[in-house]
């Protein structure tokens, strides 16, 4: 019996990440989702003050952006294209389950397919990027956190668009790494690292963090950068799930280009 049970356990460990649409044994199922949700509702009352503060901060930031947009017609925060068609839609959601100390971390949200959430959508907060949706049930969804060994995204330096691949080394929940970053100019500590227009699932210009240190990858011209993440994963509460309205078209085009390249 010992061998049998261990066998089942290891079978689960090995197959968990390969089935995309099973939501039975994860935190987005009805049992765990509802327990987490109930507790979240209860806990909410004790956090009203912080929530208020963060909303105020967001409000003032939005006002500032509105002001900037009016006077400079900036294209930095592309929310609509030149014809006025919106490119992104933001679904607000609440974090009901959150891990950040594991080797692979996930976040559970209280919105699911009934609310329009789909697999592969990006998740952000007002502070920065959080992760990508990997599993969806009718009322809950599960997000692969930036703090996950399989999380990958193309990100770059805001100042000059030098791009690299972001991946977590599993060490600290406050830091991540960008590897194989090209170097078009001088790297400066403290530079903002943001998502780029080539990053899938995220709108361009969303903050990832700031550059803490960098070193040259031996044997190549690339740099590895250590990023101080802007999101505090131990205090996640409200997030936005990003729906890219033309994602399907973009993906098909990308697929087409890749096929043509082969």
């Amino acid at each position: 019996m010992f061998v049998l049970l261990e066998g089942i356990a290891f079978y689960l460990i090995f197959t968990f990440n390969s089935y995309h649409n099973t939501y039975f044994l994860n935190s987005a199922n009805a049992l765990t989702g509802n327990v987490l949700n109930t507790y979240g509702n209860f806990q909410e009352y004790f956090a009203l003050r912080q929530v208020n503060d963060s909303l105020l901060r967001e409000n003032s930031k939005l006002r500032e952006q509105l002001f900037l947009a009016e006077i400079t017609d900036t294209t930095r925060h592309v929310v609509a294209d030149s014809t006025g068609t919106p490119l992104y839609y933001y679904y607000p959601a609440e974090v009901i389950g959150n891990s950040f100390t594991e080797a692979n971390n996930y976040i559970t949200l209280n919105k699911g397919s009934n609310d329009g959430i789909e697999v592969d959508m990006g998740v952000i907060t007002t502070e920065g990027i959080v992760g990508k949706v990997v599993k969806v049930s009718p009322n809950f969804s599960m997000v692969m956190s930036v703090l996950h060994s399989s999380f990958r995204s193309r990100v770059g330096i805001k100042r000059n668009n030098a791009a690299g691949r972001m991946q977590w080394d599993g060490r600290s929940p406050t830091h991540s790494n960008v590897i194989q970053m090209s170097e078009p100019g001088k790297l400066i500590k403290g530079d903002s690292i943001v998502t780029l227009s080539i990053s899938d699932a995220f709108p361009p210009g969303i903050l990832v963090g700031t550059m803490e240190s960098y070193d040259k990858d031996p044997g190549s011209n690339y740099y590895n950068v250590r990023v101080d993440l802007s999101v505090n994963f131990s205090a996640l509460r409200y997030v936005y799930v990003v729906k890219e309205l033309e994602a399907k078209e973009k993906n098909e085009l990308q697929q087409h280009i890749e096929d043509a390249g082969d």
Binding site: L5, A9, L12, L36, G170
Partner: protein
Amino acid sequence: MQAINWILRFVGLIFLILFQVLVLNKLNVGTYAHPYVYPMFLLLLPFNTPKWVMLPLAFLIGLTIDMFNNTPGMHAAACVAIAFLRPQFIKFYTPVTGYENVKAPSISQLGVIWFALFTLTMIFIHHLLYFFIQVFWLKDLGLVLLKVVFSTALSTMLIVILAFLFASRKTRL
């Protein structure tokens, strides 16, 4: 009496799981210490619990934690292993006077030192397996070992404290 005992145990189990999932998992005690106290339920089962009860129970409890944690199979594997090894360690730690009249591990009957040693051993094995399964490949060996050591220390401390709390409640009953 036996039935009441088991009901109390399962009430305790639900408390332990909720405490683990809703409180401890959200705690940030630094990079190295991630306490897991829910195996306490398995430690406290009566000495004569048969294997066919113990192992599936361990599996289900581990799986419940896994569901909340999105770590399918990892806690289950670690729990089944300690449930499997438990009788050996109970034998190994037999006090000089034997286990006469003692039905289950408890501080009041076997003393703090016995209880702490037993807990430390079982939790160490549980954490060792869990953290190694989590990383799987033997990269970052130092990091994993640090996690095991610090987490084991913290979990053991918490379990002994909880055992004191539970014990005092039982004597009052």
